[in-house]
């Protein structure tokens, strides 16, 4: 399964980067530096989406008392943190030539940084508690408390004056960018999806193997894994 998603991710990445670097035209204001959006925007979308999915699994684990859903939440956290980091990092690289600053404390950037801290906090809390079931519950509560940050990130550019520009692509209006630029970005977003699914599946398999090492069903099928 994971191999299939990895394959999809690679194909989509090659396609998306090809469109992004060779097909999409230069931007009228920013010149070539705008091409960061082919990485930056998909990563930023993914960082928020993964947080929502992670909190969903954490909540299910908390409510239904199921182990596997907590393991899913656990498996998603590092990928979410990576996506947040990529979004912040590429944003800084783009901000220096475009805005004239690596970093500014505007609402969008600050709330995205808080998201990174939430991911790191989630992983740290989980790692600090030895009993996995207690770690599940404690980290689930942290994840659920942090969920208020996600709408803040998304709507920050509408609610407040920010240096970060508003959304070019949203559900409520038609996108304000040229078609080939949009294609490249959406293909890259899809590639990031596939990558995230692939690594999360692999990671959750590892977590299951670690945590259920003594379970009879696992030792029976260990050769098949």
């Amino acid at each position: 399964m994971a191999v299939f998603f990895f394959l999809l991710a690679s194909i989509l990445t090659v396609w998306g980067l090809y469109v992004g670097f060779f097909v999409a035209p230069t931007d009228f204001q920013q010149g070539e530096s705008y091409r960061i959006i082919f990485i930056h925007v998909p990563a930023a979308w993914m960082s928020m989406l993964i947080y929502l999915i992670m909190s969903f699994w954490a909540a299910i684990g908390l409510i239904m008392n199921t182990r596997l859903s907590s393991m899913m939440a656990h498996a998603l956290a590092p990928t979410g943190a990576l996506m947040t980091f990529i979004a912040l990092w590429t944003g800084a690289f783009w901000g220096r030539p475009t805005w004239g600053a690596w970093w500014v404390w505007d609402a969008r950037l600050t709330s995205e940084l808080i998201l990174l801290f939430l991911y790191i906090g989630y992983m740290a809390l989980r790692a600090s508690i030895e009993d996995p079931r207690r770690a599940d519950r404690a980290s689930a509560i942290l994840a659920l408390v942090g969920i208020v940050n996600v709408p803040i990130i998304y709507f920050s550019v509408q609610w407040w004056n920010t240096l970060h520009q508003g959304a070019s692509v949203s559900l409520t209006k038609s996108p304000s960018m040229a078609t080939s630029m949009l294609t490249g970005m959406l293909v890259m977003a899809l590639a990031f999806w596939m990558y995230s699914i692939a690594v999360s599946l692999i990671r959750v398999r590892r977590i299951i193997r670690d945590r259920e090492a003594n379970a009879a069903w696992l030792s029976d099928s260990s050769g098949v894994q």
Binding site: T26, D27, W99, I152, W159, S168, M181
Partner: protein, 147 residues
């Protein structure tokens, strides 16, 4: 009620309360979360007095003037209602242009000139090739002439 229904209810209620709390906090901090003030707010006296703040808006067309020393520029920031004159010594970002968005950090001097120590270019969410931008600009000029 089964235990898991209880827990579901607990989580839902806790999230609702959390959301409500966050809404109030954000409303209370609304003014502190503003990255920049508009020229209208500057004239209305809604800016912090005697300390540095940021103003944002468009660079007024034909307002950019360079002083004789070559590094000091003066321009006006407008929100199409009020204009604030800005003075800045230093290198402007690449995207700085008349008619485009800008955010400047600094303080008001007694003459009502905003002395900036940092100028950032704020650009919009529109991405298009240069040819499309030119076509839009032509259309805008034709429309203006016909009016």
């Amino acid at each position: 009620m089964k235990p898991r229904h209880k827990r579901l209810l607990l989580v839902v209620v806790a999230l609702a309360l959390l959301g409500l709390g966050a809404t109030f906090v954000l409303k209370a901090f609304r003014s502190n979360l503003v990255f920049f003030y508009t020229p209208t707010e500057v004239f209305a006296g809604q800016v912090p007095q005697g300390q540095a703040f940021r103003i944002g808006g468009m660079v007024l067309e034909d307002s950019l003037k360079r002083k004789d020393d070559g590094v000091t520029v003066r321009f006006a920031v407008t929100d199409s209602i009020e204009n604030v004159p800005v003075q800045f010594t230093g290198i402007l970002p690449d995207l700085f242009q008349e008619g485009k968005g800008v955010v400047a950090q600094g303080r008001m001097d007694p003459q009502g000139v905003f002395v900036a120590d940092q100028v950032l270019a704020k650009h919009d969410e529109n991405y298009m090739p240069p040819e499309a931008a030119e076509a839009l600009e032509r259309a805008r000029k034709i429309k203006m002439e016909s009016e």
